[in-house]
Amino acid sequence: MTQVPEQDFSTALELLYRNENRRVLATLIRLIGDIDQAEEALHDAFQTALEQWPQQGVPDNPCAWLISVGRFKAIDKFRRDKRFDALEEIPEQHGAATVNFDDEHDDNLQDDQLRLIFTCCHPSLSAEAQIALTLREICALTTEEIARAFLIAPKTAAQRIVRAKAKIREARIPYEVPAPGQLAERLNTVLQVIYLVFNEGYSASSGTALTRHDLSTEAIRLGRLLLELLPAQAEIQGLLALMLLQDSRREARTTAEGDLILLAKQDRTLWNRDQINKGVVLVKRALGLPGFGVYTLQAAIAAVHVEAASAEMTDWREIIGLYNILLRIYPSPVIELNRAVAIAMRDGPAIGLELIEALISRGQLTDYHFMYATKADFHRRLGQRNEAIEAYQHALQLTQQEPERRFLQKRLTELQNQ
């Protein structure tokens, strides 16, 4: 036991709570076998620390202490409740009376964090539930924060979390890291959840920008955690790189009024160089690993963009080449559209327009505002005023995002006044 002066004590405990409470929770869930009971146990353990540590000193291994106390609190509570609530099942883990935490390998404790991540992102849960549960259990956001970030009622957010936990319990979703044969597929779901959270923050409209920006930060934090836990997976590095590179442009992509600034017009000195450097290192490393995929390739494209000194100096050939690889492993109309934009940058808007017309004739992306906005831009650059106006109007009908709407409206008005 280490003696700590009283005044330093609460800061130390606060720091410990901030840094370690999710790790302690992840292990408690395994030992107790239920998320809700583990959350209560976590709370009880920190409460006990608050009461005991000032007199008895901080234990040598605070996390192990918290886990142990939390577990005993859960068993106590369980024994007391049993008399009143006969319906409660006895989790098997309650059988063993003592656990020696020195015997618990660090690997196992690290695996607990992975277990929690893979459980929250279990494919049998809806995407909405996966996101809400991940933000609640792994990022420790409150239900109110989640509701605000996703522009939903707190009751809706709470319901999603409660239902997801009930499904985990009642359908018995295992608290396990997937077997190696299934890891890639399951990891993909986790990466999807993280990227959805990131995009929710990244494409936030200005009105609530502050709270929603935090989602991008949380997503990047999740990416870092996952990389720490699974350091050899290419796509984790790719996704983290992609998020860092996109986020590096955050300051430059809107005006003070919240209006959108296109990549070509952005003030590149506002780009976050630190994030860019980290992102580029990660992309290069990911490209050298087996199993890189869509996130790594998108990050590589983002890296080519941010490494250009100006929009004119962008290496479009390189970008088009990367899009070609991307389309081969992941055929998608959205990627075709982005490739069309890159090709138009190299070969002119007429070629880009042909590619877009081909998408439309196949009936693809016809409800995607960005496709009509791109079509409008190509017409505009070709001097085809009426076609451009029509396409801008079409794009406006398809988007709800305020900054996008203002941007499109501005372009439309310019053309109509010509």
Partner: protein
């Protein structure tokens, strides 16, 4: 832990799955000890729906809902957890043309028995 795997499919598509495939899997899953019961059902045109409202029994032809996918059979399985249940369900041959709904069994009987057990235990300890 018990799960009921409900096999749904558009009936015409089921013809693509040979009965021998279904029988083979049935034999295999029974042998592994995971299967507690399993049956295939006659087509939905043989179905009758019964409802009781205000004590009155009403009988109608066919299934309750006009859905495209119909219940074609079921497996009652024993699995350690949902992941194992998913693995077992994915191998049911009609999964290739239809879908399998996995529903955990609510242990209603076990719970009732436990309540009764606890009540008599508490009764004894009070005396």
């Amino acid at each position: 832990m018990k799960y009921l795997c409900l096999v749904y499919s558009v009936e015409s598509l089921l013809d693509a799955i040979p009965d021998s495939d279904c029988l083979n899997y049935d034999k295999q899953i029974r042998k592994s000890g995971h299967c507690l019961a399993s049956e295939a059902l006659q087509p939905v045109h043989t179905a009758t729906t019964v409802r009781v409202r205000d004590g009155k029994v009403s009988i109608t032809d066919g299934p309750f809902a006009e859905t495209k996918e119909q219940l074609a059979g079921f497996y009652l399985i024993e699995a350690q957890h949902l992941d194992e249940a998913i693995q077992l369900a994915a191998k049911i041959p009609p999964a290739q043309v239809g879908s399998i709904e996995i529903r955990p069994i609510r242990p209603i009987r076990e719970m009732a028995e436990k309540i009764i057990g606890n009540l008599s235990e508490n009764g004894r300890s009070k005396k």
